[in-house]
């Protein structure tokens, strides 16, 4: 059948207009490029967000015209730009970065850039992005609120704990053994409440990226010793032998945040005590290595069932064998530990056998690249 050239042109025009309308109707900023990264299309929302006119962008090289910046206000290298990664891998890339508007103003964006493939060959890319300034502000406010609420909750707890200790230590006169036991129960409960508040606060800070690292040179075993002192009461109540060993001859000093390190060790040792039968043993070993320090927390407790190994660091994870025997616990501790360690550029892993015990290993690098405050 012969095709009327006139109607073929009209049909092509109609298809092009439809594609144009479709592109312009996308509810977020959208930029399309050719295979060289030159901008071929940009929708009105993208123009509005970036503050450009269409004529100022069409035909321009996307990575050069739309400048991407990281959190430290440093221009992102071409090789690290999401569009480059999408071209190189042939896959969609989602990322959070900062763009600079036409007037020079920096703003955060959440973007997804996908290569346009024709017969497995990239013929261009399309990026969809949105300005997340408002979302970031809400996150910051949420974090501030939780921080303030935590502080307010802790103030009365501090008084309860301090006065309970003063009573136990005899500052207000003699107390009977039965009274001492009750006071220790109160202290234990305030410690648990403190742990909960601390966990919630730190998780919020990690998730919103607002946790502050105060790095100082320190010896890891000193932090471990302080944790042992704090948890010795909980261990003695279950007749658990809590020990610490320093292994090897290499230095165990790292530049890191003492409070965060103690929080990590404390979480692992608390778990070990909680999930070990009475009369068991928990050991912390610290070994200096060439590039890092390896810390191992070993218990001979209930162990983690093999089928749960993949979920150990997930939020709200609690192993089935622990839920049956131990009702307290939020399932947030190991999720928090992993998040905190990531901030300290550390790594964590474990070995466990049900009925025999668990070993958690983590490392802290001797060369810290993180920003310290």
């Amino acid at each position: 059948m012969a095709i009327d050239p006139q109607s073929a042109i009209l049909q092509a025009e109609e298809q092009r207009a439809q594609a144009e309308a479709l592109f312009n109707s996308i509810g977020e900023g959208a930029i399309a490029t050719d295979e060289f990264g030159r901008i071929t299309r940009i929708n009105p929302i993208a123009l509005d967000i970036l503050g450009y006119k269409e004529s100022e962008l069409i035909g321009e090289w996307f990575p050069k015209k739309i400048v991407a910046i990281n959190e430290d206000d440093v221009t992102v290298n071409l090789i690290d730009r999401p569009i480059t990664k999408a071209f190189l891998t042939g896959r969609s890339v989602t990322d959070k970065i900062f763009y600079r508007k036409h007037d020079g103003q920096r703003f955060p964006v959440m973007l997804t850039v996908s290569p346009i493939l024709l017969a497995d060959r990239p013929i261009g890319a399309i990026e969809v992005f949105r300005d997340i300034t408002l979302e970031e502000e809400i996150d910051r406010m949420k974090s501030e609120f939780i921080s303030l609420a935590s502080h307010q909750l802790r103030t009365p707890l501090s008084a309860i704990k301090t006065y309970s200790h003063m009573l136990v230590d005899g500052y207000m006169g003699d107390v009977t053994p039965a009274q001492k036991k009750s006071l220790r129960t109160i202290i234990g409960a305030t410690n648990r409440m403190n742990e909960l508040i601390s966990t919630l606060l730190n998780i919020t800070r990690i998730e919103s990226g607002t946790i502050v690292i105060n790095s100082r040179m320190l010896r890891v075993e000193r932090a471990a010793e302080e944790v042992i002192k704090e948890l010795s009461l909980a261990a003695s109540e279950k007749n658990i032998n809590l020990s610490m060993t320093v292994q090897g001859k290499l230095a165990t000093s790292v530049k890191t945040d003492n409070l965060i390190l103690k929080e990590i060790i404390s979480n692992l040792v608390s778990n070990a005590i909680k999930y070990t039968t009475e009369g068991g043993a928990v050991d912390i070993s610290v070994r200096g290595r060439v590039k890092d320090v390896l810390i191992t927390v070993t218990d001979n407790g209930w162990g983690i069932p093999k089928e749960s190994h993949d979920q150990v660091f997930s939020k709200f994870f609690r192993a089935q064998n622990t839920v049956k025997r131990e009702t307290t616990g939020t399932g947030l501790g190991l999720y928090l530990v992993k998040g905190l360690l990531e901030r300290l550029r550390g790594t964590i892993w474990f070995e466990s056998e049900e009925g025999k015990g668990t070993k958690f290993f983590f490392t802290l690098p001797k060369e810290q690249r993180q920003r310290s405050n």
Partner: protein, 128 residues
Amino acid sequence: MANILIVEDDKDLNNAYSIILSSQDHTVESAFDGQEALDKLKNFKPDLILLDLLMPIMGGLEFLQHFDLKVHPDVKVLIFTNMENSPEVAESYKLGAHRCIIKSWTAPHNLSRVINEALENSSTPATA
């Protein structure tokens, strides 16, 4: 023993620390905000200041801006707060604070230990 100034707006806690430290033969003065602390410092020369951060009238950071630790290098400031890992704590280090102790975690005997270490040790600052 040492002269210690407690700067803490919570009356119960201020009173508790005062009892604990006095029982160890320290000479203790109490202030309930930064401004009151500055007033007390006109007549009281402390070896150590136990300083809360969040207080009415004048908070701990503003106090440290007025009481310049570069001018008073012999005075140790221990930050006593419940705001762990916060920007305020980081700022207090920049202003010369010696250590930071988390109130709700610290039992009286640990507080005494940290204070004694701070008084004996004039080495580089560290977090508690």
